[in-house]
């Protein structure tokens, strides 16, 4: 097969573990000591909300959530953020099927939200995700984690946490396979002419 394997199961799991550590390190939590007056800050629940972008971003977010749970129990909640209805190419593409959005009970207001996607490419999905977030509330900080950054951004968007930077050409395709949906953990790169 003309596919070239880029990441195998162990690589993916190492990348997610590293991303989880980086998420914890970068999250200093809200400055709860400096609330005005003498009222103690209300308990807002965990500060970190990990939101996966369907389909595979949700699975990656769940894995990151599980790792965070071991590193710092109770520090993070996991959810899913569907961006279908916010895409800028709806009228140009065949009808897309939306996936459910699920936000943890504490909401996203004043939280640190980490968006998780499998592949970062043009940045348009993330743009749609930022719009979708805006309709759900006002996070304190929004960060972006991606398993693969393949370059070719069309918008001024960058990832804060990257599993692997993978320089590609437009004609190549990246396939992310995950155990839960595809029976195996694998990232592979195809040349379009081989695949087509």
């Amino acid at each position: 097969m003309a596919a070239r394997t880029v990441l195998q199961q162990a690589d993916i799991s190492r990348a997610l573990t590293r991303i989880s550590h980086e998420i914890l390190e970068s999250d200093h939590g809200p400055d709860r000591g400096s609330t005005r007056g003498s009222d103690p800050a209300p308990d807002l629940g965990p500060d970190l909300v990990i939101l996966g972008i369907p389909t595979r971003g949700v699975l990656l977010a769940q894995r990151i959530g599980a790792i965070l749970d071991e590193l710092a129990p109770g520090a993070a909640q996991v959810g899913a953020l569907d961006v279908t209805m916010y895409r800028d190419d709806l009228a140009k593409q065949p009808t897309r099927t939306p996936s459910p959005t699920s936000v943890p009970p504490g909401g996203i207001d004043s939280k640190t939200v980490v968006l998780v996607d499998d592949v970062l490419y043009s940045g348009r999905t993330v743009r749609a995700a930022l719009d979708a977030l805006n309709d759900l509330g006002r996070p304190r900080v929004v960060r972006l984690a991606t398993l693969i950054d393949r370059g070719h951004r069309e918008l001024p968007i960058r990832a804060d946490f990257v599993g692997k930077n993978l320089p590609t050409s437009h004609s190549q395709r990246i396939y992310v396979k995950l155990l839960e949906t595809d029976g195996q953990d694998l990232v592979a790169i195809f040349d379009e002419e081989d695949h087509g």
């Binding site: 569907d82 209805m85 916010y86 709806l90 009228a91 140009k92 593409q93 065949p94 009808t95 897309r96 099927t97 939306p98 996936s99 459910p100 959005t101 719009d131 805006n134 309709d135 759900l136 509330g137």
Partner: protein, 321 residues
């Protein structure tokens, strides 16, 4: 998902397509619970509500649905427009189409009007049937199915149909497009439908429908149906006498307080509205905890958002990328 070119009849939907619309409506319902219950999805699209017959909930429901998806809405009612001067369906729709519209939501007193508009080539816009004569009211059928599915499966509704659900539809079947859309859609979704009403209000050809039928409401209630759907007595369509008088009708086929008390606690009572309280349904029944009448209205917006999305969001080619 497959894009819909038009929505004219529930008979154009197979099981998977129907379940897909109900699932999509679940996502749309979630939007209503958000801080900003509005989506930008259909921004720049224009939906024309073209109502040749009176309507409150369907017209407002489509209007709310279109606005929640970010579309613009033009509403034309027969009263107060050139329709009352005798302008034809063709001229009226071509006139509003010339102003630039993407979808027409059509209600008309003639059965088949939506099909005529869709097949005529008069306009390019998508056509959604919002009730055509005594033929069909597809979005009502869908919202009724959604309401039943939600009551049975709750939060775990996605992907499921109505297999085995027993639905009894009572009253003026003859004039009811709601009954027809329900009969065909419920059959597609695996439910079993029983029709009850005076012999005079059962339509010709009902023998060919996938239903059982009877004239005795009390006998039908003895069978403990899961859903009892009461239909409005459509006096405005009754040019002849179909039953002796209203008291007689209410006693024979009305869901009164005595019959309400006989229902099992989890029996769903539904009515498409507007209700004739005291005729086909008593106030106690309409306002009881078993009544899903207001859920039907709420769910109607979600269903119409789903239908507008499927008709307007994608490009010409169908299917997921």
């Amino acid at each position: 998902m497959t894009r819909l070119r038009h929505l004219l009849s529930v008979r154009d939907l197979d099981r998977d397509a129907a379940v897909g619309i109900l699932d999509l409506a679940e996502d749309m319902a979630d939007v209503a619970t958000r801080a900003v219950p509005k989506l930008p999805t259909l921004r720049g699209r224009t939906v024309a509500n073209l109502f040749f017959e009176d309507s409150t909930r369907t017209r407002l429901s489509f209007e709310a649905a279109a606005k929640r998806l970010g579309a613009d809405v033009i509403t034309v009612s027969a009263k107060g427009s050139s329709v009352s001067k005798g302008e034809s369906l063709k001229d009226t729709t071509q006139t509003i189409a010339a102003m630039g519209i993407d979808a027409v939501v059509l209600r008309h007193s003639a059965s088949g009007a939506a099909r005529v508009l869709a097949d005529s080539g008069w306009i390019d816009a998508a056509v959604i049937n919002a009730g055509d004569g005594t033929h069909e009211h597809p979005t009502q059928g869908l919202l009724d199915a959604y309401t039943m599915r939600k009551a049975v499966h709750g939060g775990a509704s996605r992907g499921s149909d109505l297999e085995g659900l027993r639905v009894t539809i009572v009253g003026d079947i003859l004039h009811s497009r709601v009954a027809r859309s329900n009969v065909w859609l419920l059959q597609t979704l695996g439910a079993r439908v029983h029709l009850v009403g005076p012999e005079t209000l059962l339509p010709q050809g009902v023998e060919g429908w996938p239903v059982t039928r009877g004239t005795d409401l009390d006998a039908a209630l003895d069978d403990k149906p899961d859903v009892v759907m009461m239909l409005r007595v459509q006096s405005e369509r009754m040019l002849a006498a179909y039953f002796p008088n209203e008291r007689e009708y209410a006693r024979q086929w009305g869901l009164d307080d005595v019959r309400l008390a006989r229902l099992a606690p989890d029996t769903m009572v539904m009515h498409p509205g507007p209700m004739n309280r005291g005729l086909e349904i008593s106030s106690a029944a309409a306002d009881s905890t078993r009544s899903l009448v207001l859920d039907q209205v709420t769910n109607g917006v979600s269903i119409r958002m789903a239908v507008l999305y499927l008709v307007l969001a994608g490009s010409g080619a169908g299917g997921d990328a």
